[in-house]
């Protein structure tokens, strides 16, 4: 069997397993967790476009995610139909993302991060304090789920399948994006922005479009979120959500296609498990951040492989130089984009 057919067979098996998941899992609780993983994976994938491929770290993505959720929830609350509400929500999110991008791109690196953090906090401030518009701390209820093509999404398996369909479209789009000439030029702006400018590429525009693309999928994830929870409140816009999304991207391995998905699964499962025993999720989140940074900054999956190999080598008594994470290659042989020191201009 050639490598290509092997890959195709693997893909087909994974697809069949995912589609039949409600059947072989059976339990509603676990199906709901799977739905959560899928919707958070879409947010993580969208953030990964910026963190992994554009080299721009955003701490304001919860704002874009919630912008779609809030807009749709408010419109539904005022009696609009699902289709109108969702389309308008995506339009509003794209407009917000455009402003977000124009402001954020006044800087790169640390400046971009701080500006996006501030914008995220503004959106939090609107959600929390502008009570007459957003209902403040009480949030907004979403009474119904949509029924696309006449299929009701009220049951857990039905919602899971709908989320899976959206997730697969997102994943396919991301794969296409990463392989496209545009994706290559985006990685070019990450690695060598000056050289890209010299080659005639409009670095600002490439980054701007990438942010719009990322904002679009954040908005889609936000819509799935309100339909899943049938509620949205200001805690969704809080910095914790942006930080969790960033943790998903980085724990799985940024700049890869499946890393953010694995990261989303890890974070969602961990959050559910931890919350079942103690109410100190923020504490655990903080400790995980510090552990990841200290021991496997390239992500859990590649990091575990590296540490395991180093351990084996040490057992065999040979010298190992790969304990230094910054010298380790990324999952696909490239160096990890976000570990490079910031170059002084």
């Amino acid at each position: 069997m050639s490598l290509l057919t092997q890959q195709r067979a693997g893909l087909a098996i994974a697809l069949v397993l995912l589609v039949t998941l409600p059947v072989w899992i059976g339990n509603t609780y676990y199906i709901n967790i799977a739905s959560q993983i899928l919707l958070w994976a879409i947010l993580a994938l969208s953030l990964n476009v910026l963190v992994g491929w554009a080299g721009l770290t955003s701490l304001g993505h919860a704002g874009l995610f919630a912008m779609a959720g809030y807009t749709a929830a408010m419109l539904l609350d005022r009696g609009y139909g699902h289709f109108t509400a969702d389309v308008l929500a995506i339009v509003v999110t794209l407009a917000t993302t455009a402003v977000f991008a124009v402001l954020g791109l006044r800087a790169t690196g640390i400046g971009f991060l701080m500006i996006t953090l501030a914008i995220g906090q503004i959106l939090w401030g609107i959600a929390y304090r502008w009570v007459s518009l957003t209902n403040g701390d009480n949030g907004i209820n979403v009474s119904t789920r949509p029924a696309p093509f006449g299929l009701a999404l009220t049951s857990a398996p039905a919602f899971y399948l709908a989320a899976l369909a959206v997730f697969l479209i997102a994943l396919a789009t991301m794969a296409k994006f990463a392989r496209s000439p545009f994706g290559a030029s985006l990685r070019g702006t990450r690695d060598q922005s000056r050289r890209m400018t010299a080659l005639g590429y409009n670095v600002w525009l490439i980054r701007f479009l990438a942010i719009l693309f990322s904002g679009f999928w954040s908005g889609v994830a936000g819509l799935l979120f309100i339909y899943y929870n049938q509620f949205i409140g200001p805690q969704v816009v809080a910095l914790t959500t942006s930080a969790e999304a960033l943790l998903m991207v980085i724990s799985g391995g940024s700049g890869t296609l499946l890393g953010p998905v694995v990261g989303a699964a890890i974070v969602v499962v961990m959050k559910n498990v931890v919350s079942a025993y103690i109410e100190r999720w923020n504490l655990v989140l903080g400790v995980i951040f510090i552990l990841i940074i200290s021991f496997m900054p390239e992500g859990l999956v590649p990091g575990s492989v590296r540490l395991w190999r180093a351990g084996v080598r040490r057992l065999r008594g040979t010298q190992s130089s790969s304990l230094d994470p910054t010298s380790a290659p990324g999952p696909d042989g490239r160096r990890i984009p976000w570990l490079r020191p910031e170059r002084t201009p």
């Binding site: 963190v51 402001l103 690196g109 953090l117 009570v131 989140l285 400790v287 951040f289 510090i290």
Partner: protein
Amino acid sequence: MSLWLTLAVNSVALGSLLFLLSSGFSLIFGLMRIPNLMHGSFFMLGAYFGVTLLSKGVNFWISALMSAAAMAAIGGLIERFLLRRLEGQVLPQVLLTLGFAFIIGDLCLMLWTGDPWQPATPDHLRGVVQMAGLYFPVYRLVIVIVALVVAVALWLLVDWTRLGAMIRAGVDDAPIARVVGIKVSQLFTGVFALGAALAAFGGVMGAPYLSVYPGLDFEMLPLALIVVILGGTGSLLGALVGSFLIGFLYNFGQAMLPDLAYVILFLPMLLILVLRPQGLFGRVVS
């Protein structure tokens, strides 16, 4: 006293508190380029230390100084043993400081519960002073005086002393500074500790006025950020002007458009980013 004057006095007092918070942030983020997302946590933890000491009957000023010293030690340790290993790597530094911010926030919630703590204004700082026929609360004036003293002291330290020259040299060109015998690492740890201490001191000074409650950390962090972006990174004068500007905006916004007060705070920052990204008093880095 008329409403406007009350608002103005409150604005200057809040601006002074913000300066204590953001001058430290200006040193750490603006000067040393460390994205310290736990700066708000320093403020909150310092305030909690302070109110605990106050509730044990310790003198106000001694509480504030002890809290600042404790925070300097904590900040110094984090910088020396964790942040230093990540020198120049922005994202890992962000994640580390964010991780600590979450941990500190949750620990504070665990230790001091979710109820707000508001210590009484110390006895000797109560009352009002009469000036030009108007009455001013003593405590607000004291905050302003403390902030101005700190501002002058920092300005003298950074711009006019040998130590300040060494810090600036370390920031501009660390390898060369090391070659001429400046201990850049120790200096930076010291500056980081100083920034943390200023935040904690500000937290204690603000406690009788703002009270201390969970979530204060992530409320103060964006404020410090706005002030530094407004004023220009690394500029102490910018931090001072920015603090007072935000102090005024917050109080007047609160009085006139209470729903939008928090959002209005960010408008000047957005304007500055569009029109003058280096900030009001920032240098253009070529």
